[in-house]
Symmetry: C2
DNA sequence: TAATTATTTATTGCATGCAATGATATGCGA
DNA sequence: TCGCATATCATTGCATGCAATAAATAATTA
């Protein structure tokens, strides 16, 4: 962004939220943050408002700002919205893609394929999984870019971001359990992903808008189903709330 | 909203933008507005930031805030996004609607039907058209509410609002010409609308998600096509820019 | 002892003075 | 007269003191 102070504050706080140093529900007091960053409360306040826009922070008059907590209902709403926008974007991408756009998508796809093969063979997939996630993001970004609609792209990115911090938080709770049991399922899911991704790519390549849309819809619906099921397994309800309490420990 | 000052300022400025008293591109100087409303610059600033979120105002560091201007590209992006969200919402509504939801939709539809009949018969459709627009909005809102997704609903409403002020501004330019020629076309369009709306309603009534989505998609695509065509007719390009210049006269 | 009220404290909200910046106007030289 | 450098001015950005509010704590009474 620019070099004005409220953007400095914005970047600082945003980063710490995305790094999960500021966990869900953590109070964000203008006073403290201003001292910490070395700016005035005014700049911090403006930054917090901007973060509220991004959906990372919630502010209530006189009660201050907190890192946004999500209940299961909000998470579902968010996923549905992402489904609507991203499938539509895929349809647009099929119509509006240029040759370089397609190249970009193809490249991301091939990176993913390489990583997937290595993951299926590897013993410890942890570091590769991180890379795979990144490649996946690149793939989706490439499609959004090819759709040639900045507004939709921006909104999807926003949703991705929120999704990511929520997912990150949940996986922290979920990871201690069945790593062995997950291995089989994980491989299965990876293969499924690649099939989906290739179907999407092919549809966009042959400029089949309806197919691209349908494939993307199916793909994301799959991801959502997985996540919600996983969530339901981990605990019956109030997951976000529980996490909030736990994260309180990390208060800086 | 609440009774804090920045919400007062927010409501005030928002209202004037929606009433087209503050036209597109108009500079919004914190100093003047603060004096006018009787608050400090701080509160006005916060209000302007909130309005930026709504998409009604654009702010650039050191350059201040202006009522947002839209070029044809942004307008198209916005329409596409609305298409994606609203058709998805229709699909959700078909799945999630309750009996009262359906009742609400039906009521709005019947109001529209009554108005449409009267418009087709009337000489001067101007005042009825305004009512019809309102009923149409109610119809769409009822569907969004039945979809049971607050996030999507909120976003669609936001888009509607921006759309409305843009449309209002454009229609001001467009209305002087062919009122006679439009009459025939207008009637045709009204009938088409009713057909679409009834198809959407029926799909939701029988909980046919796919059909509801498809019908809504077609409906909105029709609206968009109409608008963009109309826009292209009115002038070749730079419509928003031209309007901006004209509205400058209204500087308070 | 429990509950309710009063008091204290911490934090947000608001206003205003000063500094930084971008735009405009002025003046100088070619 | 035109172009360019410089100065002036208006407006935003920033910081800080004070007021308003809500939460936490203490005190008082039934």
């Amino acid at each position: 962004m620019k070099d004005v102070n409220y953007n400095v504050a914005y970047d600082y706080i945003r980063k710490r939220i995305l790094n999960a140093e500021f966990g869900a529900g953590r109070p964000l007091m203008a006073n403290l943050l201003a001292l910490e960053i070395g700016l005035s409360r005014t700049s911090v306040r403006e930054a917090l408002r901007q973060l509220e826009v991004d959906g990372l922070v919630s502010i209530r008059p006189h009660l201050g700002a907190r890192v946004k907590t999500m209940d299961i209902r909000e998470l579902r709403d968010l996923c549905e919205m992402r489904l609507a926008l991203e499938s539509h974007a895929a349809g647009l991408a099929a119509r509006n893609r240029t040759a370089p756009d397609l190249q970009e998508i193809k490249f991301a796809l091939e990176v993913m394929r390489g990583l997937t093969d290595r993951i299926l063979a590897a013993e410890d997939p942890q570091p590769l999984t991180k890379e795979l996630m990144d490649a996946d993001v690149r793939f989706h970004i490439a499609i959004m870019s090819a759709a040639k609609n900045e507004l939709i792209k921006k909104e999807i990115l926003r949703l991705h971001l929120i999704n990511r911090i929520v997912a990150g938080a949940f996986s922290k709770l979920a990871s201690p359990e069945g790593t062995a049991l997950e291995k089989e399922e994980r491989n299965h899911r990876c293969r499924g992903w690649m099939v989906s991704h290739e179907a999407i790519y092919n549809a966009i390549a042959r400029q089949d808008s309806a197919a691209a849309k349908a494939e993307m819809e199916q793909h994301i619906q799959g991801i959502i189903d997985n996540r919600l099921r996983h969530l339901a397994q981990t605990q019956e309800a109030g997951a976000a709330r529980k996490l909030t309490e736990e994260e309180r420990v990390y208060v800086n």
